[in-house]
Protein backbone atom coordinates (compact mmCIF):
# COMPACT_ATOMS: atom_id res chain seq x y z
CA UNK A 1 0.00 0.00 0.00
CA UNK A 2 1.33 3.40 -0.90
CA UNK A 3 0.52 6.49 1.10
CA UNK A 4 3.20 8.85 -0.15
CA UNK A 5 3.99 10.33 -3.50
CA UNK A 6 7.35 11.63 -4.63
CA UNK A 7 7.78 15.39 -4.67
CA UNK A 8 6.83 16.88 -8.01
CA UNK A 9 8.61 19.90 -9.46
CA UNK A 10 7.76 23.16 -7.72
CA UNK A 11 5.83 21.35 -5.02
CA UNK A 12 6.58 22.12 -1.36
CA UNK A 13 8.98 19.92 0.58
CA UNK A 14 7.15 17.21 2.56
CA UNK A 15 7.78 16.75 6.28
CA UNK A 16 7.95 13.02 6.79
CA UNK A 17 6.90 11.42 10.03
CA UNK A 18 5.58 8.18 11.39
CA UNK A 19 2.61 7.29 13.56
CA UNK A 20 2.81 4.13 15.65
CA UNK A 21 -0.39 2.77 17.15
CA UNK A 22 0.48 1.23 20.51
CA UNK A 23 -3.08 -0.08 20.86
CA UNK A 24 -2.80 -2.27 17.76
CA UNK A 25 0.79 -3.49 18.10
CA UNK A 26 1.18 -7.09 19.23
CA UNK A 27 4.99 -7.00 19.41
CA UNK A 28 5.44 -9.60 16.66
CA UNK A 29 8.78 -8.11 15.53
CA UNK A 30 7.78 -8.19 11.84
CA UNK A 31 8.93 -4.55 11.54
CA UNK A 32 12.30 -5.49 13.00
CA UNK A 33 12.89 -8.36 10.58
CA UNK A 34 11.53 -6.44 7.60
CA UNK A 35 14.02 -3.68 8.34
CA UNK A 36 16.95 -6.08 8.74
CA UNK A 37 16.06 -7.67 5.44
CA UNK A 38 15.36 -4.47 3.50
CA UNK A 39 18.43 -2.59 4.74
CA UNK A 40 20.86 -5.52 5.09
CA UNK A 41 21.29 -4.65 8.78
CA UNK A 42 24.23 -6.71 10.08
CA UNK A 43 23.46 -9.52 12.50
CA UNK A 44 23.38 -8.44 16.13
CA UNK A 45 22.31 -4.88 15.26
CA UNK A 46 18.92 -3.26 14.91
CA UNK A 47 17.61 -0.06 13.36
CA UNK A 48 14.20 -0.60 14.96
CA UNK A 49 13.10 -2.58 17.97
CA UNK A 50 10.14 -3.50 20.14
CA UNK A 51 9.70 -2.16 23.65
CA UNK A 52 6.99 -3.50 25.91
CA UNK A 53 6.30 -1.56 29.03
CA UNK A 54 4.19 -3.03 31.81
CA UNK A 55 2.90 -0.79 34.57
CA UNK A 56 1.03 -1.50 37.76
CA UNK A 57 0.93 -4.45 40.15
CA UNK A 58 -0.42 -7.89 39.41
CA UNK A 59 -3.26 -8.37 38.67
CA UNK A 60 -3.88 -4.71 37.83
CA UNK A 61 -1.53 -4.38 34.91
CA UNK A 62 -1.36 -2.14 31.90
CA UNK A 63 0.85 -2.89 28.96
CA UNK A 64 2.10 -0.73 26.12
CA UNK A 65 3.96 -2.19 23.15
CA UNK A 66 5.93 0.18 20.95
CA UNK A 67 7.88 -0.22 17.76
CA UNK A 68 10.73 2.29 18.15
CA UNK A 69 13.40 3.70 15.83
CA UNK A 70 15.15 6.95 15.01
CA UNK A 71 12.72 9.83 15.65
CA UNK A 72 14.01 11.90 12.73
CA UNK A 73 13.91 14.93 15.01
CA UNK A 74 13.32 18.36 13.53
CA UNK A 75 16.02 19.79 15.79
CA UNK A 76 18.28 16.75 15.74
CA UNK A 77 21.25 16.93 18.13
CA UNK A 78 23.02 14.19 16.12
CA UNK A 79 23.09 16.57 13.15
CA UNK A 80 24.23 19.61 15.10
CA UNK A 81 27.09 17.81 16.92
CA UNK A 82 28.42 16.03 13.82
CA UNK A 83 31.88 17.49 13.14
CA UNK A 84 32.01 16.49 9.48
CA UNK A 85 28.47 17.08 8.22
CA UNK A 86 28.02 13.31 7.72
CA UNK A 87 24.80 13.47 9.74
CA UNK A 88 22.40 15.67 7.84
CA UNK A 89 18.76 16.35 6.98
CA UNK A 90 17.81 14.64 3.74
CA UNK A 91 14.74 15.29 1.59
CA UNK A 92 11.55 15.61 3.62
CA UNK A 93 13.51 16.16 6.84
CA UNK A 94 14.68 12.54 7.04
CA UNK A 95 17.85 12.41 9.17
CA UNK A 96 20.56 10.55 7.26
CA UNK A 97 24.24 9.65 7.56
CA UNK A 98 26.61 9.99 4.62
CA UNK A 99 28.82 6.96 5.26
CA UNK A 100 31.78 8.32 3.34
CA UNK A 101 31.99 11.44 5.53
CA UNK A 102 31.62 9.65 8.87
CA UNK A 103 34.75 9.22 11.03
CA UNK A 104 33.06 7.05 13.67
CA UNK A 105 33.71 9.63 16.39
CA UNK A 106 30.40 8.62 18.06
CA UNK A 107 29.43 12.19 19.06
CA UNK A 108 26.02 11.58 17.42
CA UNK A 109 25.49 8.47 19.54
CA UNK A 110 26.26 10.44 22.69
CA UNK A 111 23.94 13.25 21.58
CA UNK A 112 20.94 11.07 20.66
CA UNK A 113 18.45 10.93 23.56
CA UNK A 114 16.84 7.86 22.00
CA UNK A 115 20.03 5.81 21.62
CA UNK A 116 18.84 5.12 18.09
CA UNK A 117 22.29 4.89 16.51
CA UNK A 118 24.97 2.25 16.40
CA UNK A 119 28.34 1.77 14.76
CA UNK A 120 28.06 -0.39 11.65
CA UNK A 121 30.80 -3.06 11.48
CA UNK A 122 32.18 -1.09 8.52
CA UNK A 123 32.97 1.80 10.91
CA UNK A 124 30.27 4.40 10.31
CA UNK A 125 27.30 5.52 12.40
CA UNK A 126 24.12 3.84 11.21
CA UNK A 127 20.41 4.05 12.00
CA UNK A 128 16.90 4.08 10.56
CA UNK A 129 16.61 6.01 7.29
CA UNK A 130 12.79 5.81 7.04
CA UNK A 131 13.77 3.61 4.05
CA UNK A 132 14.39 6.79 2.05
CA UNK A 133 15.34 4.68 -0.96
CA UNK A 134 11.77 3.34 -0.95
CA UNK A 135 10.19 6.69 -0.06
CA UNK A 136 11.87 8.24 -3.13
CA UNK A 137 9.93 5.76 -5.24
CA UNK A 138 6.68 6.58 -3.50
CA UNK A 139 6.74 3.47 -1.31
CA UNK A 140 6.33 3.23 2.45
CA UNK A 141 9.22 2.16 4.71
CA UNK A 142 9.60 -1.63 4.94
CA UNK A 143 8.47 -1.74 8.59
CA UNK A 144 5.21 0.04 7.83
CA UNK A 145 4.59 -2.14 4.77
CA UNK A 146 4.83 -5.48 6.57
CA UNK A 147 3.07 -4.61 9.83
CA UNK A 148 0.28 -7.21 10.06
CA UNK A 149 -1.87 -5.06 12.36
CA UNK A 150 -1.26 -1.81 10.43
CA UNK A 151 0.17 -0.21 13.55
CA UNK A 152 2.68 1.80 11.54
CA UNK A 153 1.74 4.68 9.25
CA UNK A 154 4.19 6.84 7.32
CA UNK A 155 3.59 10.08 5.47
CA UNK A 156 3.74 13.84 5.17
CA UNK A 157 2.86 15.55 8.45
CA UNK A 158 2.23 18.83 6.63
CA UNK A 159 -0.38 17.32 4.34
CA UNK A 160 -3.72 17.45 6.20
CA UNK A 161 -5.09 14.65 4.02
CA UNK A 162 -2.24 12.22 4.69
CA UNK A 163 -2.87 9.14 6.79
CA UNK A 164 -0.47 10.30 9.50
CA UNK A 165 -2.10 13.74 9.77
CA UNK A 166 -5.56 12.22 10.00
CA UNK A 167 -4.48 9.73 12.68
CA UNK A 168 -2.91 12.52 14.74
CA UNK A 169 -6.01 14.70 14.48
CA UNK A 170 -8.32 11.87 15.47
CA UNK A 171 -6.39 10.20 18.29
CA UNK A 172 -4.57 10.98 21.50
CA UNK A 173 -0.86 10.71 20.95
CA UNK A 174 2.52 11.30 22.52
CA UNK A 175 6.17 11.48 21.58
CA UNK A 176 9.00 9.90 23.58
CA UNK A 177 11.20 12.13 25.76
CA UNK A 178 9.62 15.45 24.76
CA UNK A 179 11.83 17.02 27.46
CA UNK A 180 14.85 16.40 25.26
CA UNK A 181 13.48 19.21 23.12
CA UNK A 182 14.44 17.67 19.81
CA UNK A 183 10.96 17.77 18.20
CA UNK A 184 10.72 14.09 17.30
CA UNK A 185 8.56 13.02 14.33
CA UNK A 186 7.69 9.54 15.56
CA UNK A 187 4.29 9.75 17.23
CA UNK A 188 2.63 7.11 19.39
CA UNK A 189 -1.14 6.70 19.59
CA UNK A 190 -2.11 5.78 23.13
Amino acid sequence: MTTTTPKAQGEREPRYGMVMDTRKCVGCNACVYACMNENAVPEGFGRDWIVSETRGRFPTLQMEIRSERCNHCEDAPCVSVCPTGASHYGPGGIVLVEHDRCTGCKACMAACPYDARFIHPDGYADKCTFCHHRVEKGLDPACATVCPTESLAFGDLDDPTSKVSRLLVAHEHKVLLPEAGTLPKLFFLT
Binding site: G46, E68, P77, R101, K106, A107, D115, R117
Partner: protein
Protein backbone atom coordinates in the same frame (compact mmCIF):
# COMPACT_ATOMS: atom_id res chain seq x y z
CA UNK B 1 16.32 -9.08 25.14
CA UNK B 2 17.19 -6.98 28.15
CA UNK B 3 14.88 -6.80 31.09
CA UNK B 4 15.25 -3.77 33.29
CA UNK B 5 13.09 -3.34 36.34
CA UNK B 6 13.29 0.25 37.52
CA UNK B 7 10.79 -0.03 40.33
CA UNK B 8 8.16 -2.49 41.41
CA UNK B 9 5.45 -0.90 39.29
CA UNK B 10 7.13 -0.61 35.90
CA UNK B 11 8.80 -3.34 33.92
CA UNK B 12 10.34 -2.62 30.56
CA UNK B 13 11.23 -5.38 28.15
CA UNK B 14 13.60 -3.89 25.63
CA UNK B 15 14.07 -5.61 22.30
CA UNK B 16 17.12 -3.63 21.29
CA UNK B 17 20.57 -5.05 21.98
CA UNK B 18 22.95 -2.95 19.91
CA UNK B 19 26.65 -3.21 20.79
CA UNK B 20 28.01 -0.14 22.64
CA UNK B 21 24.43 0.98 23.41
CA UNK B 22 22.66 -1.73 25.38
CA UNK B 23 22.07 -2.30 28.23
CA UNK B 24 23.67 1.11 28.72
CA UNK B 25 25.88 3.27 26.55
CA UNK B 26 29.61 2.61 26.54
CA UNK B 27 30.85 4.29 23.40
CA UNK B 28 33.81 6.10 24.93
CA UNK B 29 36.40 4.11 26.88
CA UNK B 30 39.78 5.27 28.22
CA UNK B 31 40.75 7.19 25.08
CA UNK B 32 38.36 10.12 25.51
CA UNK B 33 39.08 10.87 29.21
CA UNK B 34 42.82 10.63 28.49
CA UNK B 35 42.43 13.06 25.60
CA UNK B 36 40.29 15.44 27.66
CA UNK B 37 42.87 15.27 30.47
CA UNK B 38 45.85 15.92 28.21
CA UNK B 39 43.96 18.59 26.25
CA UNK B 40 43.10 20.39 29.50
CA UNK B 41 46.65 20.02 30.79
CA UNK B 42 48.09 21.50 27.60
CA UNK B 43 45.48 24.28 27.70
CA UNK B 44 46.61 25.12 31.22
CA UNK B 45 50.27 25.19 30.16
CA UNK B 46 49.38 27.45 27.23
CA UNK B 47 47.82 29.95 29.62
CA UNK B 48 50.39 29.75 32.42
CA UNK B 49 53.67 29.83 30.47
CA UNK B 50 52.80 33.15 28.74
CA UNK B 51 51.39 34.52 32.03
CA UNK B 52 54.65 33.72 33.84
CA UNK B 53 56.68 35.50 31.19
CA UNK B 54 54.36 38.52 31.06
CA UNK B 55 54.40 38.73 34.86
CA UNK B 56 58.18 38.40 35.33
CA UNK B 57 59.10 40.17 32.08
CA UNK B 58 61.67 37.51 31.28
CA UNK B 59 61.96 34.29 29.37
CA UNK B 60 62.30 31.27 31.66
CA UNK B 61 65.42 29.18 31.26
CA UNK B 62 64.02 26.26 33.22
CA UNK B 63 60.69 26.23 31.38
CA UNK B 64 62.09 27.03 27.91
CA UNK B 65 61.11 23.66 26.45
CA UNK B 66 57.69 23.50 28.10
CA UNK B 67 55.77 24.54 24.92
CA UNK B 68 57.47 21.68 23.07
CA UNK B 69 56.51 19.30 25.88
CA UNK B 70 52.95 20.63 25.60
CA UNK B 71 52.93 19.84 21.87
CA UNK B 72 54.16 16.29 22.58
CA UNK B 73 51.50 15.74 25.28
CA UNK B 74 48.78 17.10 22.99
CA UNK B 75 49.94 14.74 20.25
CA UNK B 76 49.66 11.82 22.69
CA UNK B 77 46.11 12.96 23.44
CA UNK B 78 45.27 13.24 19.76
CA UNK B 79 46.68 9.76 19.22
CA UNK B 80 44.24 8.51 21.86
CA UNK B 81 41.45 10.30 19.96
CA UNK B 82 42.54 8.60 16.75
CA UNK B 83 42.40 5.21 18.50
CA UNK B 84 38.81 5.99 19.50
CA UNK B 85 37.66 6.66 15.92
CA UNK B 86 35.78 3.75 14.38
CA UNK B 87 36.84 4.91 10.93
CA UNK B 88 40.35 6.31 11.52
CA UNK B 89 41.22 6.59 7.82
CA UNK B 90 38.44 9.17 7.57
CA UNK B 91 40.29 11.46 9.98
CA UNK B 92 40.81 13.97 7.17
CA UNK B 93 37.04 14.45 7.04
CA UNK B 94 37.34 16.70 10.11
CA UNK B 95 39.39 19.06 7.97
CA UNK B 96 37.37 19.00 4.78
CA UNK B 97 34.60 21.05 6.39
CA UNK B 98 33.71 23.39 9.24
CA UNK B 99 30.49 22.75 11.15
CA UNK B 100 29.69 25.79 13.31
CA UNK B 101 27.17 23.98 15.55
CA UNK B 102 29.60 21.15 16.40
CA UNK B 103 32.00 21.67 19.35
CA UNK B 104 34.09 18.83 17.92
CA UNK B 105 34.50 20.68 14.64
CA UNK B 106 35.60 23.83 16.49
CA UNK B 107 38.02 21.71 18.49
CA UNK B 108 39.50 20.05 15.41
CA UNK B 109 40.32 23.41 13.85
CA UNK B 110 41.46 24.88 17.16
CA UNK B 111 44.00 22.05 17.48
CA UNK B 112 45.42 23.03 14.09
CA UNK B 113 46.04 26.56 15.40
CA UNK B 114 47.45 25.34 18.71
CA UNK B 115 50.47 23.61 17.14
CA UNK B 116 51.90 26.65 15.30
CA UNK B 117 51.30 28.76 18.44
CA UNK B 118 53.19 26.25 20.60
CA UNK B 119 56.09 26.07 18.13
CA UNK B 120 56.27 29.87 17.95
CA UNK B 121 56.07 30.15 21.75
CA UNK B 122 58.84 27.55 22.08
CA UNK B 123 61.21 29.17 19.56
CA UNK B 124 60.77 32.67 21.01
CA UNK B 125 61.21 31.36 24.54
CA UNK B 126 64.54 29.59 24.00
CA UNK B 127 67.30 30.88 26.27
CA UNK B 128 70.35 32.74 24.95
CA UNK B 129 72.59 29.69 25.62
CA UNK B 130 70.36 27.41 23.60
CA UNK B 131 70.13 29.96 20.82
CA UNK B 132 73.94 30.26 20.78
CA UNK B 133 74.32 26.54 20.27
CA UNK B 134 72.11 26.56 17.20
CA UNK B 135 73.45 27.21 13.67
CA UNK B 136 73.73 30.82 12.59
CA UNK B 137 70.98 30.33 10.03
CA UNK B 138 68.47 30.19 12.90
CA UNK B 139 69.38 33.73 14.04
CA UNK B 140 66.97 35.50 11.70
CA UNK B 141 64.24 33.19 13.00
CA UNK B 142 64.92 34.37 16.57
CA UNK B 143 64.91 38.03 15.49
CA UNK B 144 61.46 37.42 14.07
CA UNK B 145 60.35 35.46 17.16
CA UNK B 146 61.56 38.24 19.50
CA UNK B 147 59.81 40.90 17.46
CA UNK B 148 56.45 39.15 17.71
CA UNK B 149 56.95 37.75 21.21
CA UNK B 150 54.08 39.76 22.70
CA UNK B 151 51.43 38.78 20.12
CA UNK B 152 52.63 35.14 20.19
CA UNK B 153 52.28 34.97 23.97
CA UNK B 154 48.82 36.51 23.93
CA UNK B 155 47.69 34.28 21.05
CA UNK B 156 48.98 31.18 22.89
CA UNK B 157 47.13 32.27 26.02
CA UNK B 158 43.88 32.88 24.13
CA UNK B 159 44.13 29.54 22.29
CA UNK B 160 44.80 27.84 25.63
CA UNK B 161 41.58 29.28 27.06
CA UNK B 162 39.76 28.13 23.90
CA UNK B 163 41.20 24.62 24.11
CA UNK B 164 40.39 24.18 27.80
CA UNK B 165 36.86 25.51 27.34
CA UNK B 166 36.10 23.34 24.31
CA UNK B 167 37.01 20.11 26.14
CA UNK B 168 34.15 20.92 28.53
CA UNK B 169 31.76 22.13 25.82
CA UNK B 170 32.21 18.82 24.03
CA UNK B 171 30.39 16.98 26.82
CA UNK B 172 28.45 19.86 28.38
CA UNK B 173 26.28 20.57 25.35
CA UNK B 174 24.63 17.15 25.19
CA UNK B 175 21.10 17.31 26.57
CA UNK B 176 20.76 13.53 26.23
CA UNK B 177 23.39 12.90 28.94
CA UNK B 178 22.28 14.54 32.17
CA UNK B 179 25.60 13.96 33.94
CA UNK B 180 27.41 16.06 31.32
CA UNK B 181 24.73 18.58 30.52
CA UNK B 182 25.79 21.46 32.72
CA UNK B 183 26.98 24.92 31.73
CA UNK B 184 29.59 24.65 34.51
CA UNK B 185 31.53 21.95 32.64
CA UNK B 186 33.52 24.22 30.27
CA UNK B 187 34.65 26.40 33.18
CA UNK B 188 35.32 23.33 35.34
CA UNK B 189 37.48 21.64 32.71
CA UNK B 190 39.32 24.89 31.97
CA UNK B 191 40.05 25.43 35.68
CA UNK B 192 41.08 21.83 36.16
CA UNK B 193 43.32 22.27 33.08
CA UNK B 194 44.94 25.33 34.67
CA UNK B 195 45.55 23.44 37.89
CA UNK B 196 46.98 20.33 36.18
CA UNK B 197 49.00 22.56 33.82
CA UNK B 198 50.49 24.34 36.83
CA UNK B 199 51.20 20.96 38.45
CA UNK B 200 53.10 19.73 35.40
CA UNK B 201 55.12 22.98 35.20
CA UNK B 202 55.95 22.58 38.91
CA UNK B 203 57.63 19.27 38.04
CA UNK B 204 59.96 21.07 35.58
CA UNK B 205 63.14 22.87 36.74
CA UNK B 206 61.58 26.36 36.91
CA UNK B 207 63.27 29.27 38.71
CA UNK B 208 62.33 29.61 42.41
CA UNK B 209 60.33 32.81 41.86
CA UNK B 210 58.28 31.19 39.09
CA UNK B 211 57.82 28.03 41.09
CA UNK B 212 56.35 30.05 43.96
CA UNK B 213 54.00 31.80 41.52
CA UNK B 214 52.93 28.43 40.11
CA UNK B 215 52.18 27.07 43.58
CA UNK B 216 50.05 30.15 44.27
CA UNK B 217 48.19 29.94 40.96
CA UNK B 218 47.69 26.20 41.37
CA UNK B 219 46.15 26.83 44.80
CA UNK B 220 43.90 29.52 43.38
CA UNK B 221 42.78 27.21 40.55
CA UNK B 222 42.07 24.44 43.07
CA UNK B 223 39.88 26.74 45.18
CA UNK B 224 37.97 27.90 42.09
CA UNK B 225 37.60 24.28 40.95
CA UNK B 226 36.16 23.28 44.33
CA UNK B 227 33.67 26.13 43.97
CA UNK B 228 32.73 25.02 40.46
CA UNK B 229 32.27 21.40 41.58
CA UNK B 230 29.99 22.63 44.35
CA UNK B 231 28.06 24.76 41.83
CA UNK B 232 27.73 21.75 39.52
CA UNK B 233 26.43 19.53 42.33
CA UNK B 234 24.00 22.24 43.49
CA UNK B 235 22.76 22.62 39.93
CA UNK B 236 22.20 18.88 39.62
CA UNK B 237 20.59 18.53 43.06
CA UNK B 238 18.10 21.34 42.40
CA UNK B 239 17.54 20.87 38.66
CA UNK B 240 14.55 18.53 38.58
CA UNK B 241 14.13 14.78 38.42
CA UNK B 242 16.70 13.96 35.70
CA UNK B 243 19.36 16.23 37.17
CA UNK B 244 18.85 14.77 40.61
CA UNK B 245 19.85 11.35 39.29
CA UNK B 246 23.11 12.95 38.14
CA UNK B 247 23.59 14.48 41.60
CA UNK B 248 22.91 11.13 43.29
CA UNK B 249 25.47 9.40 41.07
CA UNK B 250 28.21 11.62 42.51
CA UNK B 251 26.81 12.03 46.02
CA UNK B 252 25.77 8.49 46.87
CA UNK B 253 25.93 6.30 43.78
CA UNK B 254 28.51 3.89 42.42
CA UNK B 255 30.80 6.72 41.37
CA UNK B 256 30.61 8.55 44.69
CA UNK B 257 33.54 6.80 46.47
CA UNK B 258 35.81 7.36 43.47
CA UNK B 259 34.70 10.94 42.99
CA UNK B 260 35.14 11.98 46.61
CA UNK B 261 38.39 10.10 47.28
CA UNK B 262 40.28 10.64 44.02
CA UNK B 263 38.91 13.95 42.76
CA UNK B 264 37.91 15.95 45.82
CA UNK B 265 40.18 14.69 48.60
CA UNK B 266 43.32 13.32 46.91
CA UNK B 267 43.14 15.53 43.82
CA UNK B 268 42.14 18.87 45.33
CA UNK B 269 42.04 19.16 49.15
CA UNK B 270 45.29 17.34 49.96
CA UNK B 271 47.42 19.15 47.34
CA UNK B 272 45.82 22.46 48.35
CA UNK B 273 46.88 21.78 51.94
CA UNK B 274 50.38 20.73 50.87
CA UNK B 275 50.74 23.87 48.73
CA UNK B 276 49.74 26.07 51.66
CA UNK B 277 52.15 24.37 54.08
CA UNK B 278 55.00 24.68 51.59
CA UNK B 279 54.27 28.35 50.92
CA UNK B 280 53.88 29.39 54.56
CA UNK B 281 56.75 27.41 56.00
CA UNK B 282 58.99 28.16 52.99
CA UNK B 283 59.60 24.44 52.62
CA UNK B 284 61.17 23.00 49.49
CA UNK B 285 58.46 21.77 47.15
CA UNK B 286 57.86 18.03 47.01
CA UNK B 287 56.52 16.02 44.10
CA UNK B 288 53.47 14.97 46.10
CA UNK B 289 51.17 17.96 45.48
CA UNK B 290 51.67 18.21 41.69
CA UNK B 291 51.40 14.45 41.22
CA UNK B 292 48.17 14.35 43.22
CA UNK B 293 46.74 17.24 41.19
CA UNK B 294 47.54 15.39 37.95
CA UNK B 295 45.95 12.21 39.30
CA UNK B 296 42.85 14.15 40.37
CA UNK B 297 42.54 15.82 36.95
CA UNK B 298 42.65 12.46 35.18
CA UNK B 299 40.21 10.94 37.69
CA UNK B 300 37.73 13.80 37.13
CA UNK B 301 37.59 13.07 33.38
CA UNK B 302 37.50 9.30 33.77
CA UNK B 303 34.65 9.49 36.32
CA UNK B 304 32.57 12.05 34.42
CA UNK B 305 32.96 10.38 31.01
CA UNK B 306 31.96 7.05 32.53
CA UNK B 307 29.10 8.35 34.71
CA UNK B 308 27.69 10.36 31.79
CA UNK B 309 27.26 7.20 29.77
CA UNK B 310 25.56 5.32 32.63
CA UNK B 311 22.61 7.70 32.81
CA UNK B 312 20.52 8.53 29.75
CA UNK B 313 17.25 10.43 29.61
CA UNK B 314 15.59 7.25 28.32
CA UNK B 315 16.81 5.21 31.29
CA UNK B 316 15.00 7.56 33.70
CA UNK B 317 11.54 6.60 32.42
Amino acid sequence: MNTAIFDSSVEILHGRSNPMIDPHMHIWGWEIPVYLFLGGLVAGMMVLVPLLELRTGQRSRGLQHSPLLAAVLLSLGMFALLLDLEYPTHLYRFYSTFQPTSPMSWGSWLLMLVYPALIAAWLGGLSDDTRGRLPAAARSLFTLADRFRGPVLWATLALGVGLGTYTGLLLGTMAARVQWNTAVLPALFLTSGLSTGAALLMLLPAEAERKALLVRWDSLAIVVELGLLLTMLLGFATGGAASRVAADALLSGQMAPWFWSFVVVAGLLVPLGLNQVELRRHLPMTLAAPLLVLLGGLALRVILVSAGQDISLASLH
